[in-house]
């Protein structure tokens, strides 16, 4: 009986989350697609034609996987952080907290919502990218699994941000000052082989570097890193962040007094 209750509650949270980001699609779906399309045009087409090849591929083909991943990361993260924080802000999170829903179901619902938006935007951006480049899809299994894990990890990150956020500034600080630099320095636009050894080492400390390169490997079959190691890191991050989120929910941090 309780299993049914939990499934219905989980489904309800997902429906609510998807309904939310579809309702405000001009804020959630359209801007990232336009922004990434501009990257394709400016960096891929205009600048890329002067750069030539990178990693054995046309520059446009080289940056497409990173830009798709950038869209997935940013949208998975921002969906959960903005949705959960706005529910805290409007106190509608209380609807969830008084209901007989276990913490892991609440968390899974929000995470699934974040992944849904990240994957939707990623899919649209992938379709747009096909106007600019051919994507050979070297390994569909690696491509799909890395994109799923990445959206999972950043949805969990967004949830932790939302739990600690006390105002709207707190919601935008991490994406602006942490996430964006990590993405840009995570090998989206270049191969780390171009960097001096010290900066190659620094780049390897950036978790996004592993995600971008693994995804690039799944599509193009080329990577700066060991794919198995990258997957191990992704799974480790997912487990640690999930555990942290459950611990925060159990403590009631930011949501119960």
């Amino acid at each position: 009986m309780f299993t049914d209750h939990r499934l219905i509650a989980f489904e309800t949270i997902i429906i609510k989350e998807v309904r939310r980001f579809m309702r405000i699609w001009t804020q959630t779906m359209l801007p990232p697609v336009i922004t990434i399309s501009l990257y394709f045009v400016i960096f891929g087409n205009l600048v890329g034609s002067r750069i030539g090849e990178m990693g054995g591929f046309r520059y446009m083909e080289f940056i497409v996987p990173g830009l798709i991943m950038m869209a997935v990361i940013q949208n998975s993260y921002s969906n959960v952080v903005s949705s959960f924080f706005s529910q805290k802000f409007q106190r509608s999170v209380e609807e969830l907290l008084v209901a007989p829903i276990p913490n892991y179901v609440i968390l899974s619902g929000f995470i699934a919502g974040g992944m849904a938006r990240g994957l939707c935007v990623g899919f649209i951006v992938t379709l747009v990218s096909l106007f600019f480049a051919d994507l050979p899809l070297y390994s569909p299994v690696i491509t799909i699994s890395v994109v799923l894990f990445t959206s999972l990890v950043f949805s969990l990150g967004g949830f932790i941000n939302a739990v600690f956020a006390n105002n709207f500034d707190d919601v935008s600080i991490i994406p602006t000052f942490v996430l964006t630099p990590l993405i840009y320095l995570g090998g989206v636009f270049y191969s780390i082989e171009l960097l001096p050894p010290f900066w190659q080492l620094v780049s390897r400390l950036n978790p996004i570097f592993y995600m971008v390169n693994t995804f690039r490997y799944g599509i193009l079959g080329t990577s700066d890193i060991d794919v198995a190691w990258a997957f191990a890191m992704l799974v480790l991050f997912a487990v640690l962040l999930f555990g942290a989120c459950i611990w925060l929910l159990r403590r009631g941090t930011g949501i119960r007094s």
Partner: protein, 311 residues
């Protein structure tokens, strides 16, 4: 009789150091319509917050229908419906979606959730507004929507934290009728309100909380019987230029304005003795009303006694 709420030595100290509850013990019987009264900051909302798990208690034991809220989390939550004091729904969602979503949180299958949503939105006069964004509702409609939302899973215990605040008198009375109806159907109701007339009209039992302590826990009937002073305002037919002096014990008369007299009765005197005295004085009374709500007089006297450290 089964006990719907059993609270023992409940304590709450917030992180800020504010002590909101100081050993509150209370029982509410199943099927009761129970009033929890107290001034602002007395601890009412903290008490309700603890029952609904939104506030973590510092110490004490809480049981809902005999089940410990710590060990039977899901069952006790299923038994409970809460209408909070503050608006706590998404302002951007449609009325029907908000109620349907809440039904889903309680595990109601979609078809049943839709039936219940329709049932309660209709009963609370909001069915026509089901596709309206909630921010566009009036204050009274928002309150009623929160009641519909709390009832959608048909809880055995409904807690209402000032449900009629800011609601006009006509609507308030229709909400009273609705609440009495669901109480008669078996739902236990706990109500906090600032409208003492509301508590007097609706509730059978009452507790008064002040500074985190229960200072009165009794039946409404018993409490009102304790009131030995009644004040009335009597409206006279003609201008009052007569002398109001009299020798009737337990009756005090005072001219309020050119047409009104305040009559204070004590020692078991009833209003007939006041009217008889006024008749002897040649004053004809055409209408009368209570000077203040009876429960209000008692409430204030209990609070004053509590502040003075005695009862």
């Amino acid at each position: 009789m089964t006990v719907a709420i059993s609270v023992d030595k409940l304590e709450k100290t917030y992180a800020s150091g504010v002590v909101a509850l100081k050993g509150v013990s209370l029982e509410v019987e199943q099927g009761d319509f129970f009033a929890l009264l107290g001034p602002n900051g007395a601890g009412k909302s903290t008490f309700i917050g603890i029952l609904s798990t939104l506030v973590r208690r510092t110490d004490g034991d809480v049981r809902i229908f005999g089940r410990n809220v710590d060990t039977h989390v899901y069952r006790t939550k299923l038994d409970l419906g809460v209408v909070p004091q503050e608006i706590n729904f998404s302002q951007f969602e449609k009325v029907g979606d908000i109620v349907m979503t809440q039904a889903g949180y309680y595990g109601l299958p979609r078809k049943l959730a839709a039936q219940r949503t329709e049932k309660y939105l209709k009963q609370l006069g909001l069915w026509e507004k089901r596709d309206t964004r909630s921010r566009l509702l009036s204050g009274g409609m928002k309150r009623r929507m929160m009641i519909a939302r709390a009832l959608v899973h048909e809880p055995r215990l409904l807690i209402l934290d000032e449900p009629t605040a800011g609601v006009d008198i006509e609507l308030r009375r229709s909400m009273w009728d609705f609440l009495l109806e669901i109480n008669r159907a078996g739902t236990t109701i706990v109500l906090t309100t600032h409208y003492l007339e509301e508590a007097e009209q609706l509730c059978r039992n009452i507790a008064i909380i002040d500074e985190g302590r229960i200072i009165e826990d009794t039946s409404m009937k018993k409490l009102l019987l304790e009131l030995d002073t009644h004040a009335y305002i009597l409206d006279a037919e003609a201008d009052l230029d007569l002398d109001l002096r009299h020798d009737e014990p337990g009756l005090s008369l005072r001219k309020v304005d050119s047409h009104s007299i305040e009559a204070v009765l004590s020692g078991g005197r009833d209003i007939n003795s006041a009217i008889a005295v006024l008749d002897r004085l040649g004053i004809r009374i055409v209408s009368m009303r209570n000077k203040a709500n009876r429960l209000e007089q008692l409430f204030l006297s209990r609070l004053r006694a509590s502040e003075n450290g005695g009862d």
